[in-house]
């Protein structure tokens, strides 16, 4: 789409303000801070996927001269079960406390049991073997279907299924059930001429950020403890730690380092409370960093799913009913993204009759964390695969089929409200007009298309803009910048103030220097923190006008403000921002603008992706040969970073579709816990990722912004799997479409 002419800064491709530090190696990430007197912490992890801990003997470790502190779950205060909303939705503090360090049971291979702080990293690592643990090894449950069986071994004796009409009497691995409905699916299927029904599955996957979790902390008995960490939300880290360690909020300062990727998984904590407890016990600052192996075994991952989808349509291409059962693996503790999965599965469609049922199931794998549009890729994969199959059966082009049934303004969603203005139809039209869709396929190639929907969220953001005497300003925000959001903040402030972006410096402040701001997640930052930036900049403008009026001894009504210049309407005299700031000391002191908001009106973002693959039919290996990602941004503040979100989401989705998966042994040990065998896409695996930014403005945001970060990971799963299916003539329902699986499908069909 054309980049708008009406704005001076918004829509430009400026250089990001934190860029210099990041290309020179100066930017400090989670593991980059060292403190005087600092020692190192390491975690002892479970060698079993499921076991009862009968006894932990730490005496030998404690006696070792290099060891400064040892902690186990027993060092932490008891925490009652209860909720708190962060990235994953609801976090249960009791579960989180038991995930950070196991209580009486270990629930996955790699589950943290104890931690040691020692004089060096090597000494801490070596001393772990001095801790003696007596286990009672139990049978692990890894598969969702197995875990749901009534006679399955139980992970938690006290877990009773929520969401049933009657309170169950027996504990279960099913943590909760959810049901959403609209219309009458039975009647809908009765009215259908063609019905498709199929099972699907997706594997456990990891978010795969390149920076392992890392933190440096300093506990201060009298004053304020400091936690430096790589996180998407340091205010929520503060809240979690204060609960888990039973500390006053005021006794904790959390500093967000630069963050080397998170994709949802850095919305919770793993090391931070443990490090702080080690620091408390040792009296020394403590650094902890996970190894890559630990990242795979004990952080993240994204939920595995098993699902069944049924869709019916009339011959003319009207979908009459959509039905799904979606089962999500939560990992060791309840709380998979089953809810948003159920809500998003069919939302791209304006269909009268829908029914979705979801199950949240615990298994002996690491507790699932949010992963980019949590829950939606798995659900919409199943739904989109079925929609494509139905389009095929009806002999209707998949874009036309979607256009005929597309969600639009006023569509009643299955989860509650009607949709406001959305851009799905525009994305579908763009797909139809894309060069890729018009290009013919070569031999052994196939094409797939899929749509995706994600809500996006608003929430609390706080911003202060401090003007300096030279007319430059500092934008103080509380949202960790995970992908270039400082650039967007700078541009929105520049646009509002009418001064050049180079005159504004965005700073992500710690928890002491700005008021609460919600976690960077849910594609909220450019939308919600952006709204706060605009409001704070408007506050600055209001004050600058007052100061100009004071200089000229006129009323504010006699000041005209445009492009960063105050004009005295009567005299025609002008004062720039710099002029006014320079004399601010004489008109009442320096100028600061402020906004503390709880943003609402987040605009959903729809996407449509097109994928062409080529399959080596002798080996089953798939290569992506062409890819186009189309998505509604509302308004692209910085188009390069919007495109980057589309491309990055697309490629994570391609990895999910083709090769990424946790491989487990029968006894529940992950066998591919490294980047060598957990195969994320490489530069050599991919073509350029073409993008189309559709702009259907979100009327609730001053510049029309919708979030863009998450939707892009949703369509690739079905787009890729449909393309593979098209190339080989067999429908692929189980991800990943790895070479052995594709080859088997080809062989079974012939």
């Amino acid at each position: 789409m054309s980049e708008s002419q009406e704005y001076k800064y918004i829509g430009q491709r400026t250089i990001r303000p934190d860029g210099f530090d990041k290309v020179t190696g100066r930017a400090d990430f989670g593991a980059d801070l060292s403190l005087p007197g600092m020692i190192w912490g390491k975690i002892l992890r479970s060698p079993h996927a499921h076991a009862r801990i009968k006894n932990i003997d730490t005496s030998k470790a404690e006696a070792h001269p290099d060891v400064m502190a040892v902690v186990t779950h027993q060092d932490f205060p008891a925490v009652s079960a209860g909720g708190f909303a962060v990235g994953e939705g609801q976090v249960d503090f009791k579960d989180l406390s038991r995930n950070v360090l196991a209580d009486d049971k270990v629930l996955y291979h790699g589950h943290a049991i104890a931690a040691i702080a020692a004089k060096s990293e090597a000494a801490a690592e070596a001393a772990l073997s001095l801790i003696e643990i007596d286990f009672d090894v139990l049978m692990p449950v890894l598969d969702i279907a197995e875990a749901m069986k009534p006679d399955s071994p139980l992970l938690h004796d006290d877990l009773f299924t929520q969401g049933l009409a009657e309170q169950p009497e027996k504990a279960s691995n099913i943590a909760s059930r959810m049901e959403l409905k609209k219309g009458d699916v039975d009647a809908g299927f009765a009215a259908a001429d063609v019905v498709v029904e199929r099972d699907f599955s997706t594997p456990t996957v990891h978010q795969g950020y390149i920076e392992p979790h890392a933190t440096t902390v300093r506990y201060d008995e009298d004053g304020q403890s400091m936690v430096w960490c790589s996180t998407q939300g340091h205010f929520d880290v503060r809240a979690i730690i204060s609960t888990l360690l039973s500390m006053d909020l005021s006794k904790l300062k959390v500093v967000a380092s630069e963050i080397g990727g998170g994709f949802g998984a850095k919305t919770t904590v793993y090391l931070e409370p443990v490090a702080l407890m080690l620091s408390k016990k040792s009296g020394r600052p403590v650094k902890m960093a996970m190894t890559r192996d630990e990242v795979f075994r004990a952080s993240g991952p994204g939920s595995a799913t098993r699902s069944r989808v049924k869709i019916g349509a009339t011959k003319d291409g009207t979908i009459t009913a959509m039905q799904a059962q979606l089962n999500y693996a939560a990992g060791a503790f309840k709380g998979s993204p089953m809810g948003p999965g159920c809500m998003t599965a069919f939302t791209p469609y304006d269909v009268e009759n829908m029914y979705v049922e979801g199950y949240d199931v615990v298994v002996n794998k690491p507790k699932a964390a949010a992963y980019r549009a949590p829950g939606a890729p798995q659900a919409e994969f199943a739904a989109e695969m079925a929609v494509n199959e139905l389009a095929d059966k009806l002999g209707i082009d998949p874009i036309e089929f979607r256009l005929q049934n597309a969600a639009k303004e006023g569509t009643q969603t299955i989860y509650g409200p009607q949709l406001k203005v959305v851009g799905l139809v525009e994305c579908l039209e763009a797909a139809k007009n894309s060069p890729q869709y018009k290009q013919a396929l070569a031999e052994n190639q196939g094409r797939g298309l899929a749509a995706g929907f994600w809500f996006n969220i608003g929430g609390q953001s706080s911003v202060v803009i401090n003007m300096k005497p030279d007319g430059t300003g500092t934008i103080v925000e509380g949202s960790p910048d995970i992908g270039g959001s400082r650039a967007s903040m700078q541009m929105m402030a520049a646009e509002t103030l009418g001064i050049d972006t180079s005159r504004l410096t965005p700073v992500v402040a710690d928890t002491e220097h700005i008021a609460y701001s919600a976690t960077t997640g849910g594609s909220r930052t450019t939308f919600a923190t952006g709204m706060a930036v605009i409001e704070a900049a408007e506050d600055v403008v209001r004050q600058l006008k007052e100061r100009a009026a004071a200089v000229w001894n006129v009323t504010v009504e006699q000041i005209d403000w445009a492009d960063g210049v105050a004009t005295n309407v009567a005299s025609g005299d002008k004062l720039s921002v710099a002029d006014i700031c320079e004399t601010a000391d004489k008109t009442g002191g320096q100028v600061s603008g402020r906004a503390n908001i709880n943003a609402r009106g987040a605009g959903p973002s729809f996407a449509v992706h097109l994928c062409d693959v080529e399959v080596d039919k002798e080996t089953g290996k798939t290569g992506v040969v062409r890819y186009t990602a189309i998505q509604d941004a509302g308004k692209a503040i910085h188009p390069s970073y919007v495109e980057g979100q589309y491309q990055g989401g697309a490629v994570q989705g391609i990895g999910w579709a083709l090769n990424e998966e946790y491989v487990y042994s029968e006894d529940g040990v992950m066998e591919n816990a490294g980047f060598l065998d957990y195969r994320i896409p490489l530069s050599s695996d991919l073509p350029m990722i073409e993008t189309v930014i559709v702009e259907v403005p979100n009327s609730f945001h001053p510049f029309g912004v919708r979030g863009v970060g998450e939707t892009g990971i949703i369509p690739p799963l079905a787009a890729v799997a449909t393309a593979v299916s098209d190339a080989i003539g067999v429908r692929m329902g189980d991800l990943p479409c790895s070479p052995p699986k594709v080859l088997k499908a080809i062989q079974d069909a012939s």
Partner: protein, 80 residues
């Protein structure tokens, strides 16, 4: 009267899928719901997100409810 539409989770506690409530703001509306449905707890309601006339409102305590408005309680979304 505002029309309140319950999620399937809340329907298990309310026994019906919707109800009309006379309230001018969210706080009063919740108070009325708690009076009407004994199984419903305040925690149960507060953990849900709310959409008033289609707009999802993160923390709606003081939010006005239009006289013929539509109020949905839904699963709270965050993100990744």
């Amino acid at each position: 009267m505002a029309k309140v539409i319950f999620s399937s989770e809340l329907q298990l506690l309310t026994g019906e899928d919707s109800v009309s409530i006379a309230a001018t703001n969210y706080r009063d509306l919740v108070a009325e719901l708690l009076l009407r449905y004994k199984k419903l707890s305040e925690g149960e309601i507060l953990k849900m997100a709310v959409a008033i006339d289609g707009e999802v409102i993160p923390d709606p305590l003081l939010e006005p409810v239009p006289s013929n408005g539509e109020v949905h309680f839904l699963y709270r979304i965050s993100g990744g």
